[in-house]
Symmetry: C2
Subunit: 336 residues, 2 copies
Amino acid sequence: MTTIKDIAQAVGVSCTTVSNVIHGRAGRVSAETIAHINETIEKLGYVPNMSARSLVSSSSKVIGMISHLTQNKNESIVEDPFHSAFIGSIEKTLRENGYYLMLRTVETTADLLTFLRNWNVDGLFCTGVFQDEFFDALAGLSIPIVLIDSYVTHPNMCNVGLEDYNGGYTATRYLIDKGHKEIAFASPTIKKRGVVYERFLGYQKALTEAAIPFRPELVFEQELDVNTTVALGMNLAKRNDITAVFATADILAAGIMSGLNQAGKRVPEDISVIGFDDINLCHLTSPRLTTIHQDAPLKGKLAVYFLIDQLENKPIPNREVILPIHLVERNSVKAR
Amino acid sequence: MTTIKDIAQAVGVSCTTVSNVIHGRAGRVSAETIAHINETIEKLGYVPNMSARSLVSSSSKVIGMISHLTQNKNESIVEDPFHSAFIGSIEKTLRENGYYLMLRTVETTADLLTFLRNWNVDGLFCTGVFQDEFFDALAGLSIPIVLIDSYVTHPNMCNVGLEDYNGGYTATRYLIDKGHKEIAFASPTIKKRGVVYERFLGYQKALTEAAIPFRPELVFEQELDVNTTVALGMNLAKRNDITAVFATADILAAGIMSGLNQAGKRVPEDISVIGFDDINLCHLTSPRLTTIHQDAPLKGKLAVYFLIDQLENKPIPNREVILPIHLVERNSVKAR
DNA sequence: TTGTAGGCGTTATCAG
DNA sequence: CTGATAACGCCTACAA
């Protein structure tokens, strides 16, 4: 392994000088020496040892992408196709800026703290954080944190989110405008102050606005795995009161459509379905899924910019970005 | 930050003793001291500094999951839903064994080498490696490497793969048994000695066996993005010679079905489709997709076991696991 | 059973 | 403009 020392010896200067050149501290070194050193670095194939850097600077260029595992043990960081859409975008942007991405699942806040100190982690991405003790742990940290899809805020964290409320409203309103009145709401568990909760509020708002009474029995909280969602679709098929379903995730919507289909109901003739996210899957279902679009890669990119600006102490004009959503009309909703 | 030194001072012993206790080198320390040290570690919340360890031991517990980016710049590590299925399983198993996962995309072999030396990376996972200069670079390394879905072997790498040939054969044979003769083969680029290539060979084998002439014009090599796959489906709809399609990935199959549908063809009445992978999507298309099943989480888990056994110098009975596949019959194929 | 000392590669301080 | 030197936290001979 070529080290700074090797370079220094080869060139006939001290480590300090080499280090200065590496860090672009020009002005302190003669142009001649700089050139010579750079050549040698090239020739000998010097690569900085991040561990050593990290040790001396107690900062590491390591960014953690944290997935907080609660009880449901079988999940993991990239469980759903939507998540994975922006993790790639995050890795790319980080890399282009000289950072490294560690993926890590933590079960307890102690796990988190340990991990951070293990590596002098410089910054963190977390998704779906709620107002709980995990959040409190994050709040106690002194490193930059970017929260994605979370409705909790903290003076020294940044947030990248979505117009969830508006999305819920828009989807529901669209169904109403199409003549639907008995509209089911399907989602994973509705946790207070979460993404799903906001969409739920938007749903209620649209209902209220149209003077349609909210009926709690039309709310279906489900796991997102295929079997469950398909089963839900089959159950919905048995009822005749519902004419439309708003599902807060495309995978959920697709599962429901599939269940509906298998139970002999036709979408959208018998029942309309609208989703949320606009993942590729929307083009692959039949009928193609009408949904609320969001830009996942952009979300990832913005999250990284936020983080890097904080890491580099750049001024941060605002600590929050709410990405806009819009409706994408396809074929899963029919007017009645 | 609590360090070993702090512990040593608090207990009134030397760093060496603390270090010995931490590493379970019992026998060298009195039971009493051990207990005392452990208590103190607990009380003071000592967490090892991996950078320091890494520096002194030139090994880091960091495992890289490498995605080799060729020209197509917009892809990334978790581009397709299938990939992301086992990356979660990999993170989990690594973590349970005391390792850390770094996600990294590399464009050149130089990028790879730099990355490895930056962090003293202990081991590597790579997917879809071919016999090229990237492979040569891997071959030159001295760390354990596990190749996933790759048809290149090397004395000091392990392989976790799939019965791709058998899968291709089984799928095609199934279609043939159902009375199909004009069977299209749809896949991403067929690179020699790759996963897709093997499936292609299986396809040809089944054809030959049934005395059906292989027709190159029935082979369609495509990108896997939705638009392209849907477009392919629409094109296939225009021809009347094809009665069935074998697609080497479920997302591809689903795209084709969608295109077929949009062009007015019905699956499986007009044309049958079979996929590969058995991802959740198969339940969500309509009709539900008949496909070749593979166990992605298991693949991830096995890959990790391979890697860890190598890292810990355990005896490795065999350097290769080929996971079995099996056909899952659903509704996208019809006998004629 | 325990301690001392040197060094891993890098950076920062301070002196020349 | 350049160079010693100490320090980051940890590990491992080697001593005691």
